[in-house]
Symmetry: C2
Subunit: 231 residues, 2 copies
DNA sequence: GCTTTCAGGATCGTATACAATAATGTGTGC
DNA sequence: GCACACATTATTGTATACGATCCTGAAAGC
């Protein structure tokens, strides 16, 4: 496992280690289900297990990590049901934040969002889709911040985090490309203060994302194995 | 400081200590701003600081506790701005959960809710308003659970927790009594499967609660202190 | 040959010990 | 008598040590 030492990121987190792990997960450099051993991480970051444990605990509250007693910490693997819930929650919350953000956004806010989009494009150009995905999430989070609802913004932060895992697990390769223009159109509406348009654009953007996932229920692994072998 | 040893509560939390502290805060037996020293709590519960720290960390993620580096953990004191945000978020989320709950509630669900109301009344009769408030929160949380949206239910759990602190800080004594009938009417709508009615009742119930708070902006403590002392 | 059992190792859970930081109280100089 | 600097103390932050639990693999029994 290869991890960055401590990349500076504009994220709100407690410890530098939680920060680094969070970024690595967001950028799909650590796959869902990966075991995150305490000794191993302590070795990598040069700290004791105490601080590693605290970091893992914090990530488990966000939903990025699942901790099983006496088993250890693993990068979370959201089920299809959870995936649906996460996107339903986003479809409930984010149009509202987009609406508020359109009413409250000042010039510097728009500039920040603009920079996010630019970074996202350059990451794509550099064929770094993981980083592009992370930046895409930051775009959504920034809108929630601009909306001035810190409480809801924290909720959205956790939803975006889990969305990253969900995309890693359930993204349909055959589905259309990520619709680069969605964020651009959203930004335009925000810049013009068109709250209703921003809200509608956000909703349809999320619905698009949601429908690009393969969330069809699957039979249990056991059952399907039995079926295969009985032929 | 007098705390229960480990009361069994139907709450979702990690450690028994977080559980006990959470209950004590919900029942207004520990006031906002109270310092929660690690040694002190370890002494009370007969465990080392390690586990106390973990519990305090978990409470800080719910927003019940604020941790300041090198200062320690304190029962959170939500600002008026945060209070407004919390209730706005509840007014956004909970009518939706009431709607879903009305469509999905089975007989046992209704029974559980009914018991909650009974317990709440008996707590009031026993002049234990703290416990009544806690049970009132549990009523709301149970509805979110019935709605079958685990993700949103967790959000609501944190919102209810902070609501308890907000009520401790900003409740207007002169305001009308807690409107005992609100939960009863809500339960009736849920039992009959009247989703729209349940949603509307929930919304108005939350608006009532919100308006029973005194959230008028106040001058800083410092300023007022200075004013008082200069006379 | 297959299953079962037990031992070894590895990892987590908790307690304790040490280091670092902040708060408080005391003493001195003016 | 007041203000400032310093020492002392209390509390948190981090590391380490020990005990408990679970997983893995080999050997014995069927």
């Amino acid at each position: 496992m290869k991890l960055p030492t401590a990349p500076p990121s504009g994220q709100t987190s407690s410890s530098p280690i939680a920060e680094a792990l969070s970024l690595a997960i967001h950028e799909h450099r650590i796959a869902p289900g990966t075991k995150l051993g305490e000794d191993e991480l302590g070795e990598i970051y040069g700290v004791s297990r105490t601080v590693v444990r605290a970091a893992l605990q914090s990530l488990s509250y966000i939903g990025l990590v699942d901790i099983h007693r006496n088993k250890g910490a693993f990068v979370a693997e959201p089920s299809r049901t959870e995936a649906r819930e996460v996107f339903e929650a986003r479809e409930l919350l984010e149009p509202r934040t987009a609406h508020s953000a359109a009413l409250r956004a000042k010039a510097p806010d728009i500039a920040v969002l603009h920079r996010h989009i630019e970074d996202e494009h350059s990451a794509l150009a550099a064929s770094d889709p993981g980083r592009a995905l992370h930046l895409s999430g930051l775009f959504h989070l920034e809108i929630a911040r601009i909306a001035g609802q810190a409480t809801i913004a924290r909720f959205i932060e956790t939803l975006i985090a889990r969305s990253s895992l969900i995309i890693a697990l359930y993204w349909r390769r055959e589905s259309a490309l990520c619709d680069k223009h969605a964020h651009g159109a959203l930004l335009a509406a925000l810049a013009k203060g068109e709250a209703d348009a921003a809200s509608a654009l956000m909703r349809s953007h999320l619905v698009d994302l949601h429908s690009a996932l393969d969330l069809r229920p699957r039979p249990d692994r056991k059952t399907s194995l039995k079926e295969v072998l009985s032929r």
